[in-house]
């Protein structure tokens, strides 16, 4: 409301200001020559000064005076043009123009271009009252940590958030800081390992392998550490060893452990002549298998994988395979809203009329998603 009052006052003020010269009694201006004459008179004085100063001689001064004198005469000889009639009418029209055009153009163009009612959002005020906005909460925590870089708990909270939202460089720094300040735990070192793997397109690098090894030492039962260590062997091309590692892991896990199917896939892949699966983003099978892990592990593993994928697709939405995987993953997790959202976004990138779009639609139907809503 206040905004509209300000706008009304501003408009009225401007219109009133502009009307002022048009409200005065109509007046014809004589052709003015005083300004010119003044300039030429000053030039005459200047010649006197120059002459007195010895800059020019008498002859030159005389010539210059004659020349300027001619200009003076020319100026005063100019006849005054004047048209007196019709001014009142012209002013009326001009007044109407001012009164009509100022609000019409102002409001018309503003309503077309502007966002009336959109409040200011200075950062300080938003940080003071972040609500549920994850980004702001993170920003607030970051500010806090910038001033208190030795608060390990802060890094501990931020690290998994960074990992989930795909800010992998920040995540790595946060894990390392948390370990430096709070000590090395299996949770932290494995988190660092996962960050490094994601940052290297799914390849377990030497750094990551060392991290998982440390994690396995601290918590020998941790399934994530064991899985990635075995994966590292597989990626190194040592298939027999990899098969043995996966088999040992499988044997020591409960028979109904949710990651058993995943392990079975890897055991199969490393037996016989089948080439090992190319390293890449976690496959749908990985996610599916992991969905049965213990509650804590499930939270961490699946979320980090799926949301990492989600974040990657936001940056690079032209990845058809990725979208298929994401939609399926969310559906498997029972997150219907997110699955629908992912389907909608994927169909924006791959229209349902196309070949890939059609596949997405089929997938959505199979999973019982709201295909009609998504294609709208």
């Amino acid at each position: 409301m206040l905004f509209w009052i300000i706008i009304a006052v501003l408009t009225a003020l401007v219109a009133a200001l502009l009307l002022a010269p048009l409200m005065r009694a109509p007046k014809v201006v004589e052709e003015e020559t005083s300004g010119e004459a003044e300039v030429y008179k000053d030039q005459l004085k200047e010649i006197d000064r120059d002459l007195a100063g010895g800059l020019i001689n008498a002859q030159e001064a005389e010539n210059a005076r004659a020349e300027i004198g001619r200009r003076l005469i020319a100026v005063s000889a100019q006849s005054a043009r004047s048209t007196a009639a019709g001014q009142t009418l012209a002013h009326r029209i001009a007044q109407v123009l001012v009164i009509a055009l100022i609000p019409a153009v102002g409001l018309g163009a503003y309503l077309y271009l502007g966002s009336p009612g959109n409040p200011d959002q200075p950062l300080e005020a938003r940080l003071a009252n972040p609500g549920n906005n994850m980004e702001l909460l993170v920003a607030k925590a970051e500010r806090y940590l910038a001033d208190n870089p030795d608060d390990g708990k802060g890094w501990d909270i931020l690290a998994p958030i960074y990992l989930r939202s795909g800010r992998l460089g920040d995540a790595e720094l946060a894990w390392r800081n948390a370990m430096r300040l709070q000590g090395v735990t299996a949770e932290r070192v494995i988190g660092l390992g996962e960050t490094l793997v994601q940052n290297n397109q799914g390849i377990v690098t030497e750094d990551a392998r060392a991290a998982f090894q440390e994690g396995a030492r601290l918590d020998p039962k941790n399934p994530r550490a064991r899985f990635y260590l075995a994966l590292a062997i597989e990626q190194a091309g040592r298939r027999d060893e990899a098969k043995a590692a996966f088999e040992a892991f499988s044997k020591e896990s409960p028979a109904d452990a949710p990651w058993q199917p995943l392990l079975k896939d890897h055991i199969a892949a490393n037996s016989g002549d089948a080439p090992p699966a190319a390293p890449g983003n976690p496959s749908a099978a990985d996610v599916q298998a992991a969905s049965g892990m213990s509650a804590g592990d499930r939270q961490q593993m699946i979320r980090s994988m799926v949301e990492g994928l989600d974040a990657k697709l936001k940056d690079n939405p032209k990845n058809f395979e990725g979208w298929m995987r994401l939609v399926r993953s969310y559906a498997m997790l029972g997150e219907k809203d997110k699955a629908n959202a992912a389907l909608t976004t994927s169909l924006e990138n791959f229209p349902a009329t196309g070949q890939e779009g059609a596949q997405l639609v089929t997938l959505g139907r199979d999973l019982g998603l709201d295909v009609e809503g998504a294609t709208k």
Binding site: P21, E30, E67, L97, G114
Partner: protein
Amino acid sequence: MIVETGHYALVLALAVALLSSVLPVIGARRNDAGMMAFASTASVALFGLVLLSFSALTWAYEASDFSVKNVWENSHSAMPAIFRFSAVWGNHEGSMMLWLLILTFFSLLVAVFGRNLPESLKANTLAVQAWMAVAFILFILLTSNPFLRLDVVPAEGQDLNPILQDVGLAIHPPLLYLGYVGFSVSFSFAIAALIDGRLDAAWARWVRPWTLAAWTFLTAGIAMGSYWAYYELGWGGWWFWDPVENASLMPWLAGTALLHSAIVMEKREALKIWTVLLAIIAFSLSLLGTFLVRSGVLTSVHSFATDPSRGVFILGILTLFIGGAFTLFAIRAPALKSGGLFAPISREGALVLNNLVLTVSMASVLIGTLYPLVLETLTGNKISVGAPFFNLTFGLLMVPLLIATPFGPMLAWKRGDLLGAFQRLYVAAGLALVAGLVFFYLDEGGPILAVLGLAAGFYLIFGAIADLWYRSGFGKAATGIAWKRLIGLPRSAFGTALGHAGLGITVLGVIAVSTFQTEHVTEMKPGETADAGGYHLVFDGMNSMKGPNFTEQRAHFSISRDGQKVREVWSSKRLYTARRMPTTEAGIATFGASQLYVALGDPMADGGIVVRIWWKPSVLFIWFGALFMMAGGVISLTDRRLRVGAPARRAKKMPTPALEAAE
């Protein structure tokens, strides 16, 4: 609410500008006092609205309001307050707002200080200014609106381009724009005079302060930009013949020519048509300069807009204003009476020579800048016209100008005495040659041509002093009288002398640095040493630093001479975290007017780092000269002759109609 009010103020400004571009012209046609007075009132309102709008945008930057798309794209909450402020114009949209703000500011100045102008000239001039305001407000609102909002408000901005995070950027664009846009006033005066069909010696005097002001600001802007490129880009050069630099040099050359031809017009009523043409050209080149930087057609170190659709809009503005101005000129110019006659050897003749050289050199820069563009558009071939072309053409063209400059002020109007001027100057020339040789032997080494170049620089300086000397009559009259005369000389005479001497000082700097500078590129490890310019550098080692929004690797150097430690410098490589963009911060040690310039290159595998060390003798003279020229401009501006006519107008302020009629 503040942001939206700013947006609304800008839209309202469009409405005001629309009215102000029509009513005053009608008023001037009909001799209607009210409608002509409307121009001044509207100029005040227009400036107020644009200022309100600009302030709202500035507030959004200071408060890091990332709901404004433009703020989110170009700011970061961790930036120091000064850069959050300068970031307002460190991007395309904001810089257009600054352009507009300065345009309306000049309109305001004309409205307030133009009391001595004839009403119709003033009304038409302000109307032409309003046409430009309409074009630029439309351009901003339709293609480059800085007030667009984001629905999902991010928590952090994307940061400003790191090379623009520098105090130089806070000052450079406003100065440059004050220059560019300042020429819009001369342009508007020219168009108004063409519309009115009235063009006389008085016109030249009325335009002169505006041209002088614009020229002074442009000189400052170019010098500032050049110095900024020198220390920020870390390449050790001060002028790259970069298209963006050329874009600012061209209006400067045209403006310098305009400044001189306006003197002839004012004194002798000659060169009228030419002066009007120069006023149009100077501003056209300013617009072209804006276009070259903004459209992103040019790849350049400091252009930050890349959007061809905007280019099309600016091309429209260019065509409309430049094409329209030349059409009007073609229709009206033949009807103008030509003015006084003069002999070839006279002050007028010297100024014509000045104009000839300046415009031809301007054309050479224009060709060198645009030719590659045109060629690329037509054939797809990318060629680059670099320093060799410009040094040859521009450099050669400057030689006769440098020789002729001191003659100009010494020649009489209408019919000059070349021999007399020559006699007065040969003392200056002799002194200059001696000074050039002394300078040469002090620095040693270097081709013999450098002596001539240095001599030319000194010759300009001594010539400027000689002009004042002979004008005051030192040597002819008693010293006391000469002193009195010197003090009594018009301010513009001092302005001339300072301007010409400044040119000489810049020439000295250019010649000294391009002949005597030394460059070393070596790999250094901590503890190693290097020599440059008679100084001894020790690389002490590196350390890491963290700035507000960057991290940096700094190298420390100790500089000693003859075993005595004289200075220490830090040279660093920065990484701006938000954009992951590296920059080089050169370490510069100043000794008198000379500088030792140390820039870091890439680190080597064996722990060393590539270090580039330049010894730049007398390099600061280049910018000292610009300071002298600016001082000349400012002093000329205070000349009382530029304020003539005001007293008569004050009488008119009285409300009685009898006095009006008396005029």
